[in-house]
Structure formats: structure tokens, C-alpha cells
Symmetry: C2
């Protein structure tokens, strides 16, 4: 993929096609008082880029494609598995106090809670703070009591796009989503193994990478 | 700006130029056993895109430009002022308890602290949690005691790029940066008015916008 700054003449051609489509190359040339041969490179660029569509014996059409589509194309191709980071998980029986210590030691904003290795909950820094100011004994309460519990957890699969992960972060107002693999325990029950996470930090880091790539 | 998927012939032309630069259009045509006229649209696309550079009487050069440069160009152009959101600020004398309540009511991860309208500190959800588990009386301690204080605060100006803001968020491991305007109080002293904020949420939201733009 390459990118091109359109010339004034190419912008004019787009306008002509927008107004009079379908229109033949000869008719565009007449509009601009130029020969068909002179326009050949311009029309090649405009059709190759997908801005114009050419149909034999009919003429040129405007497709409506815009400049930003390359950025969005590029972003849509990045998969969760390309950017996911290592998750921090604790057991349901861990006390709030120990969970908070883990949060600080690992310097994360959310911790995943598992039971027998399967995802059962998520606790965020916000959940901890809410409970810490309540005046409870943090050593006595297990994390299982305050966590957000399955099936109320937003998850994402490794093969999904990172754009989808970002949309979930924004729509559900969470800082972090577990990346999970579905495991069929028996015919009735599905469980999830946590294999990574995508957080707003992941997205910010990716944004920096995209912005610095030259 | 538009984007183009290169044809096989155009890729071949790039290879020829890479190997034999500078090389004339006639020489490229001979390599491919085609006429100069047939190649005209291809060479136009490759020079317009900046992949090849043409110098009169010398020939074509390879510039080394790659596909990702458009994404990075687009990202670099977005300014902090284009995306900044509304900051939440409290006074230094506010108690930790009231500050935490504000944090929950406004649903933010950081609060800016001001004195006479000027930025003096920042407190994050992490700072609050650290102090909340310490067993102190949150009603008795003013936020000024625990906040990160100027000049140890990372700030950003509205005219800087949002890429710079994202780099600061990652490099300094913070969730949120105040957008500030410098005010010269007297010749010795500069103060800062908080006019906005950029957080990892801001960047994630922007990422979604770029990914969804078509």
C-alpha cells in the first residue's frame, strides 16, 4: 500500500465524475479541454485507488472512498493476539488485602479471578477503593465477595480485532478485558481460560507504535 | 490523500529502480520489454506516491518510503486540543474522603488539585487506594498531603500532538495528563491553568474513531 497526495487536476476529475456519473474518459477530457492521453495517468491513479470505478462501455463512477480508509483498514487488521499482554490472576479465596498488594506489586489496574484455572471474576482498582473506604476488615473478606462475576464479564477472543477490544473498553467503561479461550467442559457447560489481557494501556501503547512507525 | 494497492508490474519497477538507480524510464521499459508509453501511468503513480523520485536527465531513484507512513502522518497531525476532555479539579484542602467521593461521582481515574485556580497537584485512584488501606482517617487528611506536587507533574500543552501525550502516558506510567496553559505570574514565576485532560481513555476513544472512520 502506498499513499498519494491528489493533484488539483485529479480533484477536478473527481468533481466532474461526482456530478455527471457515469461519464466516459472522453467526456472528462472534453470538460477539462485536454486530450484523453494526457488524462490517462490521472485516471489510472483514481481507479487504482478505488476512488473511481471504471466499467467498460459505460464510464467512470465515484465510489465514495475517503482518505481515512487506509488508517481504518490498517487498524482493523491488528488482532488481539498481536498485542495482548500477560494477565494477573488470583484465586477467589484471596483476601482483599492480599489482592490489593498483588495489584500494587504487579502494577496493574485490574486482576482476574480464577477457580481451577477458569475465569470466574474480575476486580478493578475502583472496586477495591470502593470497599477500602467502607471501613471493612480487608483481611477477612475474600475477593470472591466483591468481584464482578461470570457471566457478567466482558471478554474477547485472541482472533478478534484489537479495534473490537477497544470498542468494548469504551462501551462497557472498563479499563481492562480478559483475552479468553473457550473450553467445553461438558455438553452443557462452557468455561474460559484466561490467556491474556487488553487494557487501555495496551491500546495507548499501540497508538504510540502506529504514530511512530515510519 | 488516497491509498493504492500496487500492481505486480509496479512492484517490479520498484525492484528494478532499487537495483539500478538512477535509471531512465526508457531503461526500465527495456527491462520489462514494454514501451515507455505503457509504463507512463505506473511511473506517475510511483512518483506521485513518493516511492520513486524522478530527476530530469538523470532518471528514477528509490526513496525508501513505506506503507505505514500514512497512518503515522495522520496520527501525528491530531492535536491535544482536538481530543482533550473536561478535567475534574478540587482544592488542596479537600479531605481524602471527599476527594474519593468526587472521583466516584465524576467517574474519573485522576483528579487535579488547584490553588487559586492554578495547578498544584494530581491524585490518582492508585494514590487514594494506597492511603485508604493504610487505616488512616480519610476525613482528617487533606488531599494536599498525598498528592503528587508541582513541578513533579507531567503536563501537555493544547497545541502539542496527541501522539506526544500518548508517549508521555506510557513513558511516565500515568493514566491521565493535565492539559495546561502557561501563565506568567511575575518575571520569576510561571503558573499553569488546567484547561483539559488527556487520559488513556481519550486515546482509546480516538483509536476507535480512527478504526471506524470509512
Amino acid at each position: 500500500m502506498i499513499n498519494i497526495q491528489l493533484s488539483e487536476r485529479q480533484e477536478k476529475i473527481i468533481d466532474i465524475v461526482k456530478n455527471d456519473q457515469p461519464i466516459t474518459g472522453e467526456a472528462i477530457a472534453r470538460h477539462l479541454k485536454l486530450t484523453r492521453a494526457t488524462l490517462r495517468p490521472d485516471l489510472a491513479i483514481l481507479t487504482m485507488s478505488g476512488i473511481l470505478d471504471a466499467r467498460p462501455k459505460v464510464g467512470y463512477f465515484y465510489t465514495g472512498k475517503t482518505a481515512l480508509s487506509f488508517v481504518s483498514e490498517k487498524i482493523k487488521k491488528i488482532k488481539v493476539s498481536d498485542v495482548k499482554s500477560i494477565p494477573v490472576a488470583i484465586d477467589e479465596e484471596t483476601s482483599l488485602y492480599d489482592a490489593i498488594v498483588t495489584l500494587f506489586l504487579e502494577d496493574v489496574s485490574s486482576i482476574f479471578v480464577t477457580s481451577d484455572g477458569y475465569l470466574t471474576g474480575v476486580v478493578s482498582r475502583k472496586d477495591f477503593l470502593k470497599n477500602a473506604i467502607g471501613g471493612m476488615d480487608l483481611n477477612m473478606i475474600p475477593v470472591g465477595v466483591i468481584m464482578t462475576r461470570m457471566p457478567n464479564i466482558i471478554t474477547i477472543a485472541p482472533e478478534e480485532s484489537v479495534l473490537n477490544a477497544a470498542i468494548k473498553l469504551i462501551d462497557h467503561e472498563v479499563d481492562c478485558i480478559p483475552v479468553v479461550e473457550e473450553v467445553e467442559v461438558n455438553k452443557k457447560e462452557k468455561k474460559y481460560k484466561v490467556i491474556g489481557k487488553v487494557s487501555k494501556t495496551t491500546i495507548t501503547r499501540l497508538f504510540v507504535e502506529l504514530g511512530e512507525s515510519d
